[in-house]
Structure formats: C-alpha cells, structure tokens
Symmetry: C2
C-alpha cells in the first residue's frame, strides 16, 4: 500500500489512560514513516471526521506527545456518538469516505468501548460495502471492563485502584470517628450494568474488619432488609460500616435504586444517587449517622493515582494497533492476554472485531461471595494485578503537569459541511 | 519536674496528616526520656481519658510509629466531644484529674481545632482551678483552616491539594466530552462556614479557560440568576463549565443551598448536597447535561495525594509541642509562622491558648474576586505554597501501606467507670 495518513479518534467516556493509548499510536506511527504519513486526530471523536475537523498531531512536539502518557481525559476530545447501520444512515458513511479521501487517510484507529468497536467494525467493512480501502483497528478502552476477548480493558485498572485506595482511606477516617460520630459511610462508584468497579473496592479489605464491609453489585438483587441487617451487624462488630455501592445497584425487578429518568446519546439510562438513597434507609431504619461520597468523574479522571500496569497496557494496545495496521491487518483489536503462570504476566493478542462488537462481558457470579456482599478469592486473583504499580505524573507548583496540546487543525478540503 | 507520663489525644474531624503530628509527638517524646515517661494516647480522643481507655504507645515499634507519618485518619481514634466549662461539669474535670493522677500523667497534648483548643486551655488551667499540676499544649489541626495565629492549619494543605488536583482532572474529563455530552460539572467540597477549601480549587486554574470556571463560597451570597448567567457564559465561551461549590454556599438570608428542601433530579427528596441542588437548577433553567461529585471524607482522608509541606508542618507542630512541654511551657500552641521573603518559608512560633480558643479565622474578602466567582492573586499567593511537594506513602500490592497499630491498652487503675 502507498503511504497513507492515519485517523485516530477517542470515543465514549474518557479515562485516566486513554491518552496513553493515543501516545502509543502516535509515537509508533512516527516510527513507521515509510507506511504512515501523518496522524490526524478527530476533534471530538468520530464527529471530527464527519465535520472534517482534524487535528494535525505532527504539529505537536515529541515531548508533548510523550506527556500524553501521563495526561488523563481525552486530549483530542471524545464523543458519545454511535454510527447507525449502513442501511439506516448511508450518508454518514459516504461522508466519512469523502473526508478520508480528501485527506488521504488509509488507516482508522478507534479508541473506545463496545459501541465504538461496532463503529470500527463498520468502518473496516467500507472496502467491501462502499469500495473505499481502509484498515480499521479498534483500540480497547473502557472503565466498564466489559469488552470480550481482552483479559481486561485499559482504563479499568486505574479506576479500580482509585476506588480501592479511596475506600481504604475513607474507611480509616470513619473508623477513627465512629465512637462518637459517623457510623456508616457509603461510596458510590460507576458501573451501570456490571460490578467490576465496585468489586475493585473489595481489594482494600486485606484483613478481617477492613473496609469495605459491604459491596453492592448490580448483579445481586438488592434486598433492603438483608442489607440493613448486615449494616447493623457491621456497626455492632466493628463499630462502623463502610460500603461501596455500584450506581447500577438494583432491585430484583431490575429497577435501579436511583433512576434519573434521563438517557445519554447511546440510549443508556443516566444513573446517580444510590448513595443518598441508601443513606436515607440507614437513617430511617437504623437511626445511624452517615456520610456518603459520590466520586463520579473523579474516579475515571484520577491520573494522579493511575495503575502503572494500566498505563503500560494502554500504551501497549495503542502501539500494537499501529503495528497491526502496518502489518496489513484490519477489523481487529489488540487484546490483553493474561499469562498462565502463577505470577501475573501479560502480552498483546489479537481479537476479531466482528466477535467483539456489541458483546458485553459480564462479571462472573463466582467473583461475588455467596452472601452477595463481598468479593471472592477468585475475584481478588483477577483484580489485584490490574492495580499494581504507581505511575506518578510530574508535578510543578504542587499540581500534576498535564499535556497542553496546540491542536492545530488540518485545513479543510471539502466545500460541504456535514451536520451531525 | 519529676519524670511524668504524657497524654496525647486526637480531636474532631480527622485529616490526612493528623497522624504525622502524632508521629512528631511520640518520636520526640522518646528523645526526652529524662522528662517524659510513656506517651499514652486517648482511645477515641478525650473520651479515652474520661473512660480510662489509654493506649500505651510504648508498645508500638519505632517503624510503626514512623509509619504514622504517612497514615491518614486518627490512628488512636478521635471524637466529637467538647468539655463543658468547669462550672457546668466539674465532674468531668475531676475525673480527668483522677485518671491523670492514677497514670502519673503530667503532660497533656491535644491535637485538634478551635473547640479542642478551648478544651486544652481548660486543662491547662487545672493547676490553678483544681490544684492538679499539668502542662497542656495544643497541637493545631483542622481542614477548615480557621485557627487564629497560625498562618495555616495542618490538614488544610492536603485537602487543598486534593481539591485542586481533583477539579483539574475532572475538568479535563468534562472538556473532552462537552461537545456531545456533559457540559456542566460540579464538585462539592467541605467548608461549612468558610471558603478556604473551595478557594483551593481555584489553584487548578492556571490559564484562561482552565477549570474551575466558577467557585461558590459561603462568604458570597448566592444569586441564582447571576450564577446561571455565568454558567451559560462559560459553556458558550469554553464549551463547558466546571464548578467548585462549598457545602456552606448560602443565600443572602443565610439559608444554605443544601437545606433548600427541593427534590433532586432523580426524583428523590433532597438529602442535603449543594451539588445536586445546583445541578437541578442547571438542568431546569439551562437544559444542560451535568454531572456532579461529592468528595466528602475522600478529600480529608486522601493521604495518597497529601501535600508534602502539610506533612512536614504537621510533624513539626507535634515535635514542637513536646519541646515546649519539656521547656516547661503550658497553655500554648505551636503555630506556623510564614517567612516574610518572596520565597515561601516557615518556622514554628508559639501562640497563647487563651487567645486561640474559640476564635474563628475568616477568609479575607480580598481573597475572592470582585464578581465573587474566583480567587484573587492574593489568595493564590497564600494558598499555593501550602500544596507544594508530594509525600507518597509506600505501596504494596498496588495499595498504600498504612500503619496498623497494636493499640495495647494500659491496665486500668481506677475501680470506677465514667459515663460519657
């Protein structure tokens, strides 16, 4: 193939390490100048391609690109936007091809979760469906840890570490105050459909009595009486009770403990507010003093406490994506493969996109204890390696120094605008 | 004075560095074995003295005591308990003396905020009022940063750093998503009466457009129309709006936003929380998608992101307290004195407790911009040195390793119990 430019875009909710993948893509592409021309990043994800808003990453210095490795969020802008099927919105695909042609783009790197894998798959099929030759590689990213094939998803390990560290620290706080003050503490964490993130909180409990004492998973039907009984038992036994609650915690009938009634662009329900709901129960039924925290974006943006393993893997999948493209591959995703030995090891494998797209990996029931309130040794064995290692960003004036990009736009070549 | 034992207690809400003060007290006392016998820590603060529940810190190894320096929360237990005046509850003071006598205690180190300074002052007067000779030294601690005399309070710098880092990171997250998703983000922080902590969030805004774009202080009457107008302007100008809101934000009539009695966006009765209250306004009046976080205990327990300066100062005031006691002083508090030079420096001075107790230091109006939504250069000059330096705890298995004390209780010598 002649030397072509590459398009890179970030998609869906961002993470503490998605820019490490961007760093892996750009640095590796720069090492393959014989095959890859420039890397154009979509401004605000795939929307940037549709609008012909491309950021010329060649205008960024090597040190700025290197700094992406320790910068949270999506440096080029991300979006919540899912391409419809070719039949439903052919115009979008034709527009993509128009933009790719105008900018000599032959490589498509899409950095996202399950919905994005679906988009990437559709783009990989453009050669067949619309006759435009393009190699599309999906780069895994999601704090939800729900992509199949890959052992884990970049972004998850850092949220896991944040949640485990946070409940450990807040638990110590409550322990020291519980004799005369707060007795119940609830930390609400992300995880609409699966309890991966909530489970990670369980890593903080290293010894009997350690926080968290209760974890609420979306996978386990919430039973108010059982929950309150357990809270009461913990307070009697340990003096306090520290709880990690998934935002997706739900009743047996599938209704969420906190349902905002609003939906995001992908049609997913927007959740929030499990912690105050639980707190009200604790106060009304047990009369105990409580505090609660809702970490929200703090948990997925917390690059300052990122997992070193996560950072390495995020970089590695970006690097591998470019290497796969250079090797002539398309319609695939670099996946993290866990080694079989007792000691944790990992390598990069390859997953076919048509089997990745729209498949949601559930957390095994065997990760949750019989009583439904904690994690098992099996879960611990899986989770613990993912939070290993610290990868501190540089600091100046007491604050982390994160990359500031110039974001020079590529000159538009098309006379038509496209309304997204 | 003959060799006497010391009593040390932690009081009020704990911090990321109060144990660093404990470390300073115990390590320094161990260097003065000619004058100070054992250091007995109150189990759960002053309540431990009243109940004769004393922890023998001499049973802890030097490495455990050293580990207190990097351990958040109150390792010996704290309490929210204020001694009444001698006239109102003479029995409490008589009990204290009974316990002190029984355990040969001649030094009293009390580690807390304004209320605790008052208690410490009363104890320092026991020689005069009840004829029991004791030297009482107060050790400053409060995330509220509201003690007089001292330039700042140990505990505050670390919360300040946590809040500045968190809004910087979450702000980057929102910036990358705002084109097609969340446009307004609100981080609620502590500070019921003063905006010190909220102000610290302003340190993250280093350049035009940086988060936070709006800070809500308790000192500035909340004006809904003005607030919404500013949010709207920010979204139009920067694409998004990141807000730090103090839990103490209030209307002109002094009523708290958190006590507004409204129903939140999730249809639940408002459970307290400035952030959800503001979020509801943003949604109802501007129709913008929002997210919010409530850091709660996470902010004051976050030893993993503690300020190096704060850790040093917390240790130093503990050390100085013992040195003052050994020098025969009583009724005083080590205070942090800021050097006069352009370059930040500090030393330890001495404040008379009768002028510290029950005096609340307000944040100067000159720290807040004219429009009431951000901090001034004067505030930045004051705050920035306090978050300098990183002091990472050791990690094992991906998690910080915090001290685990044996907490061996001193054998009780009194036959009477005391009901607190």
């Amino acid at each position: 193939m002649a030397k072509m430019n590459a398009f890179y875009a970030q998609s869906g909710g961002v993470t503490a390490v998605i820019n490490a993948s961007a760093c892996g893509v750009i640095e590796t592409a720069r090492q393959h100048k014989d095959k890859i021309g420039k890397v154009y990043a979509g401004h605000n994800g795939i929307i940037g391609a549709l609008r012909e808003e491309l950021i010329d990453t060649s205008k960024e210095t090597p040190s700025t690109i290197a700094a992406l490795r320790h910068t949270p969020s999506g440096a080029f802008g991300s979006c919540r936007y899912k391409l419809k099927s070719l039949e439903q919105n052919r115009a979008e695909y034709e527009r993509l091809i128009e933009v790719f042609k105008a900018h000599n783009i032959g490589y498509f790197f899409y950095n996202g979760g399950g919905d994005s894998a679906d988009t990437c798959l559709k783009v990989s099929q453009l050669s067949k469906t619309l006759g435009y030759p393009i190699q599309a590689i999906h780069i895994p990213k999601t704090v939800d840890n729900d992509l199949p094939f890959t052992d884990n998803c970049p972004g998850f390990g850092s949220v896991a570490k944040y949640v485990a560290v946070s409940i450990k620290e807040a638990g110590l706080d409550v322990a020291s105050m519980c004799d005369s003050s707060t007795k119940v503490f609830i930390l609400e964490v992300m995880g609409r459909h699966a309890g991966w993130i909530a489970a990670a909180g369980g890593l903080a409990a290293e010894q009997e009595g350690d926080s968290p004492h209760i974890i609420l998973f979306p996978e386990i039907a919430f039973d108010k009486a059982k929950f309150l009984k357990r809270v009461d038992e913990c307070v009697k036994k340990f003096g306090f009770c520290a709880i990690v609650a998934s935002e997706g915690a739900q009743y047996a009938d599938g209704s969420f403990l906190a349902d905002s009634g609003t939906v995001d662009a992908f049609g997913h329900k927007q959740l929030g507010g499990v912690a105050p709901t639980l707190a009200t129960m604790v106060r009304q039924e047990l009369g105990l003093k409580y505090h609660w925290a809702l970490a929200d974006y703090l948990q997925r943006a917390a690059r300052h406490i990122a997992s070193g393993t996560d950072v390495e893997q995020a970089y590695a999948v970006g690097k591998a994506a470019v290497e796969m493209a250079v090797a002539g591959k398309s319609g695939v995703m670099p996946a993290i493969i866990r080694g079989k030995g007792k000691r944790y090891s990992w390598s990069i494998g390859e997953a076919p996109l048509d089997q990745v797209a729209n498949v949601e990996r559930k957390m095994p029931r065997s990760f949750i204890s019989k009583d439904g309130f904690s994690i098992t040794e099996e879960a611990r064995d899986y989770l613990l390696p993912l939070i290993q290692g610290e990868d501190n960003p540089p600091y100046k004036n007491g604050l982390p120094v994160y990359a500031r990009l110039k974001k020079v736009k590529v000159e538009k070549k098309l006379s038509t605008a496209f309304k997204v």
